[in-house]
Symmetry: C2
Subunit: 387 residues, 2 copies
Amino acid sequence: MTLLNIQPNSMKAKLSLFVFASFLSSGLCMAQDKAPVDDWKSASSNQPGKEYPKVNSEGRVKFRIVAPEAKSVGCTFRDSSEFTKGEDGAWYGHTRPLDEGFHYYAIKIDGAEVPDPSSMMFFGAMRWGSAVEVPAHDQDFYALKNVPHGQLREIFFYSKSTDTSRRAFVYTPPGYDQNPQQRYPVLYLQHGWGENEYGWGVQGRTAWIMDNLIAENKSKPFIIVMTYGMTNDTRPGGLRNFDIKPFETVLVDELIPYVDANFRTIADQPHRAMAGLSMGGMETKMITLKNLNKFSHIGLFSGGSISMEDVDKTPGFKEKVKMVFVSYGSRELGGDRPNRGGDPKANTEALKAAGINSHFYVSQNTAHEWQSWRRSLREIAPLLFKD
Amino acid sequence: MTLLNIQPNSMKAKLSLFVFASFLSSGLCMAQDKAPVDDWKSASSNQPGKEYPKVNSEGRVKFRIVAPEAKSVGCTFRDSSEFTKGEDGAWYGHTRPLDEGFHYYAIKIDGAEVPDPSSMMFFGAMRWGSAVEVPAHDQDFYALKNVPHGQLREIFFYSKSTDTSRRAFVYTPPGYDQNPQQRYPVLYLQHGWGENEYGWGVQGRTAWIMDNLIAENKSKPFIIVMTYGMTNDTRPGGLRNFDIKPFETVLVDELIPYVDANFRTIADQPHRAMAGLSMGGMETKMITLKNLNKFSHIGLFSGGSISMEDVDKTPGFKEKVKMVFVSYGSRELGGDRPNRGGDPKANTEALKAAGINSHFYVSQNTAHEWQSWRRSLREIAPLLFKD
């Protein structure tokens, strides 16, 4: 599916409400018609020392919830099994097979929707709450390895337009402190609706993905800046009237100058990129097309695409844009889902035919979820800032 | 109270089990004998957009929990009111007046102990879960202000002794990147039992405390390093046999060389300090007294003190130790609580009389809790690395 119908020359975006319906969806709808394979292992997303949740080789997740007096226990994954009391008095239940990768969820106890006390906490769907990692065949690319590590730095910059000190996370690549004469390009990287500035650094595994790519010489070292995209002040329906201007001001007029003053950036348009996922892709498209004197590389992950109509409407696009990257999870594409911004693959081909350096990537067997976006970062990084 | 009976020349610490009984205790025991003052305000520790929990001018905390089918709802603060269903169908209840500052808690729903979905998440008491900020008369010192900010950096260092890549957080002071010729002293700062390397950076407000002190010229700029003290592998009772050696190896043989190689430290004994809270204080005492060729400044927050017996047992103490700082919350002291390591104030006075630069600080009206430790950091910082 395509989420967005963006008019790049307007401040407003007409956003499909599909973004909400699909936000927590993941993978196949499957009835619980057979017994799960009994090879459960503790999830890597568990809190220290917690045995549950467990994941099996089918990608099912099994929960254990201690709720002695509860009448009913469940979880927010659709098509999950009934939760029943085990011999130890705790409640057990499991999900359908889930896609590889990372999934938000909550536990339900007698109608209360609460975090699973055994899960680490992540910000998504507008709350700090639970999520589970389903092991992936390609999880090595976002694993913590004994390679040279960059740093993820929490910074605060003063924003005059909002009169607040705002948090950002800045990834500096390995060697940044050891090479004080070197300057680096910068990627501004945005989270999606319901998420915040922690998303890419925590569940996105940005630092480990980049450390690993750089260790394998697959990507140039560059700086990545992640801040809150001001996406969550509006509610469903309100997004139709989402105004990019407040965030555009914070990003372009306040954060970029701060980063250029406080980090060893190459502070020019050819060495500045922006990318984002879902609503962060929408923001990326709106902001970059209005500020092509600032950005040269554009990445949209599950967040629309750029059509020749967009190109024709945007003065200087062909001269200024050095690379366009569009990606989706395979489960987001095809079928009867609307492609309101135009088919992303066809749009990419049209840009290529027009001589624009344009790339289309499909994450196989994943949906509108972090595994698609981790892979998208892995794919876009080697394409950025090529001379 | 005094938590610890440490034999500095031994690898073992005989630890009072009081540490566990007191871990979540805070403030006065008070019956719910009158109606709370009706001036509730949303807590600053709430998740974005959440109205509850609220705190009133007495320091009571009021909760709102949506649990439509629950038979009973409560919280882990002792002496709290009954939770009852309000007109909106949600459950409401409130605590006794709590101390100023930060308190861990959990919500109980039909016997399940779960995080409050409206609270931010913090690691303490061995889990990521809820906590609430009660406004403090002196909260300005740990507030986020528009002053020059340092950075809190997440780093990973390889540890041969454990064959793991281990996380640490490193606070670099304002100006660190702008002054590439300047080198800085380093404080190694430890969390307590049941906590981890996030404690000082998140609930401890380390960066904001230091930014504010430095902006007011009350502290020299220095680097602070926070890593996991390997405190949580043993359970109550097991702590009697706590072995400092694994953490001592990680800290002294692996982390310190990594930090000295990767940050612009002044890499010598006079410019290296260690401090810690509660069990982190115990670790600090054990490690520093065994490694006085590495550390010159020692801080123990609610975690024992140093006696003349300790001094006499430790070769070179008087020559090598430049400063000893001991602190407690006022509610931890006096009464019939045991002072197994010796009375901390008397110990401090004895060290002073022996010519050792020694300081004792009492955080007024706080207990074994983060408000005592935030204040302890504020108090120790100006005493560190004086020439």
